[in-house]
Symmetry: C2
Subunit: 331 residues, 2 copies
């Protein structure tokens, strides 16, 4: 049986409320008493009930982190970054997964809101309107979506997409397909807008799509029969699925079609051909988001929202190559 | 501003404690009052504070899930299985990552113990002694370690290892290396014991090792210079890292060395050569662990520990092949 607050009170000869105060507001307890209580607590192996303490102090020292798909390596790196950094600030991070379902996302935010000091919401699929309503209950930092009046951590994926398409163009590609991500994704919209703004190319957009290996695989026939020589996919999982599908159809990558992903996950580095990709600073985003969230938690109602934008960069590997002469067009 | 319990009490004309009781012990409130309180709560958008309710009812409807490395796809599939299944039972699962550090593991269990109804501890690195002490505070199910007197979900990785080595033997391999996993891993011990028990082979064990791609990469030189033609790795990440390292050294896989992983993660399916592996039922293990944990939570002190052992199976792909004639030995 774990020691209770009553055991500690009895052992140190004080009232239960004094023990409680020693843990929740130690500066209000005189030094001699405080030391006696803490010594007794240590002897008995007593740990203050954080849930109970939360009711007194309003702080749990826990953060919630909500992601769309915990099995997507992009999110696991973001989680690792956030957890490691929070640990150095004496915070634990508990992670929940929405399975790309806006309904579940809303439910999880509501559940977490009263149990943690703040929530990191990554790549939300909910509408801005719903998020704005939910954040009345708990401090929020949103990662991968720009929302005015809120703290945001963004990755400069628009630049990344421009750089990726510029790379394809430099290899002679002009007819380019963009595989969009899920509906409701800010990142997907940024990529699409950036791609549309590139001059001198003939762009075909497929989507919205499920941002998974299967989502990419399912597009292989459409891409093979479209008149394109270069592809930019919403993420590496889709790019890997597409390459699998094209290979199965006898369409060589990069001989016939060049493919670029986004994220830089391990699977892209070990797949054949090795995937050219736009690296996203997922771990750094996790760390930065924790910093911004703890600023909000510390400042309370007076908090000023902050915006951090992190750079992306193109990594050229083997899934992109020069357009074949017989496929070249000079528009 | 979210509605408080006081707002609901005022709107329904009852005392705050009656509102509290309506949510924590509805059978103790008369029907007419209960309906009035619930209607007011709904009108005002009031949600009972689950932390406060937990202090009254002793139930949070949350489960904790602790894994060694959230970035290892094996664990993400286990998490997905557990979360999806818990959701159907009206439970949320919050995940925490120990970063393979037994100290952090102990801390997280202590933190979670008072905030959730039960803990799923996956692939612990802590000693049995410490785990047995910690479980006095909260119901526990341990995944991937056999512990007498506790509920366990195991995968039959011993059979899997035997099957993998049998496959290598059937291809003519006799000199076989085993890349062990981390110290403290029950799974690694099971694999090692099973490998030692296979007759007629010459086994070299490397390790303990970090169960990551880097851990496998770091062993490439040692494996290349050891006199072996077949390798079984503790997991797919290590196998993939090893293949990368061997390829960089000019050692062909499977031409010169055949490599088998364990887990069946996506990266192994898209890597070249495609990885032969022992598939581990990670999602099913997550679901089963939730079932066993909710049995413990429901039964309280009278709970009987249960043991579930799930089958593994060998998936033969391209990273294993017949031993070359000039390398063949017939002991």
């Amino acid at each position: 049986m774990a020691a209770t607050i009553r055991d500690v009170a009895q052992a140190s000869g004080v009232h239960v409320s004094t023990v409680s105060r020693t843990f929740s507001a130690p500066h209000l307890v005189n030094t001699e008493t405080r030391n006696r209580v803490l010594a007794a607590a240590e002897d008995l192996g007593y740990r203050p009930n954080r849930a109970a303490r939360a009711l007194t102090t309003g702080r749990t020292h826990n953060l919630g982190l909500i992601v769309a798909d915990i099995a997507n390596p992009f999110f696991s790196h973001l989680i690792k970054g956030a957890q490691a950094h929070a640990r150095t600030r004496d915070y634990h991070v508990f992670v929940a997964d929405t399975d790309e379902d806006p309904q579940v996302e809303e439910e999880l935010i509501q559940t977490l809101a009263k149990q943690v000091d703040g929530v990191l919401l990554c790549s939300p699929r909910l509408s801005n309107r719903v998020i704005e309503k939910l954040r009345e209950d708990v401090p929020f930092v949103v990662v991968n979506r720009r929302m005015k009046g809120m703290s945001n951590v963004l990755m400069d994926v628009g630049s990344g997409a421009r750089e990726a398409i510029g790379h394809l163009v430099s290899l002679g590609h002009r007819r380019i397909a963009l595989l969009a991500g899920p509906a409701g994704s800010w990142t997907s919209r940024e990529i699409t807008d950036a791609a549309h703004a590139v001059p001198g190319i003939d762009l075909t957009v497929f989507g919205p799509n499920s941002p998974t290996e299967h989502g990419g695989l399912a597009l292989a026939e459409a891409v093979a029969s479209a008149d394109v020589t270069g592809v930019l996919a919403y993420n590496d999982l889709m790019a890997i699925g597409l390459v699998e599908g094209l290979t199965a159809l006898g369409v060589e990558v990069p001989g016939r079609v060049s493919v670029v992903g986004i994220d830089d996950i391990v699977a892209g580095r070990v797949s054949r051909p090795k995937l050219t990709t736009v690296a996203m600073p997922a771990e750094a985003a996790g760390r930065t988001a924790v910093d911004l969230l703890l600023q909000l938690v510390g400042a309370g109602e007076t908090a000023t929202p902050a915006l951090a934008t992190l750079a992306t960069n193109l990594i050229i590997r083997d899934s992109t190559g020069p357009v074949r002469r017989e496929l070249r067009t000079d528009p």
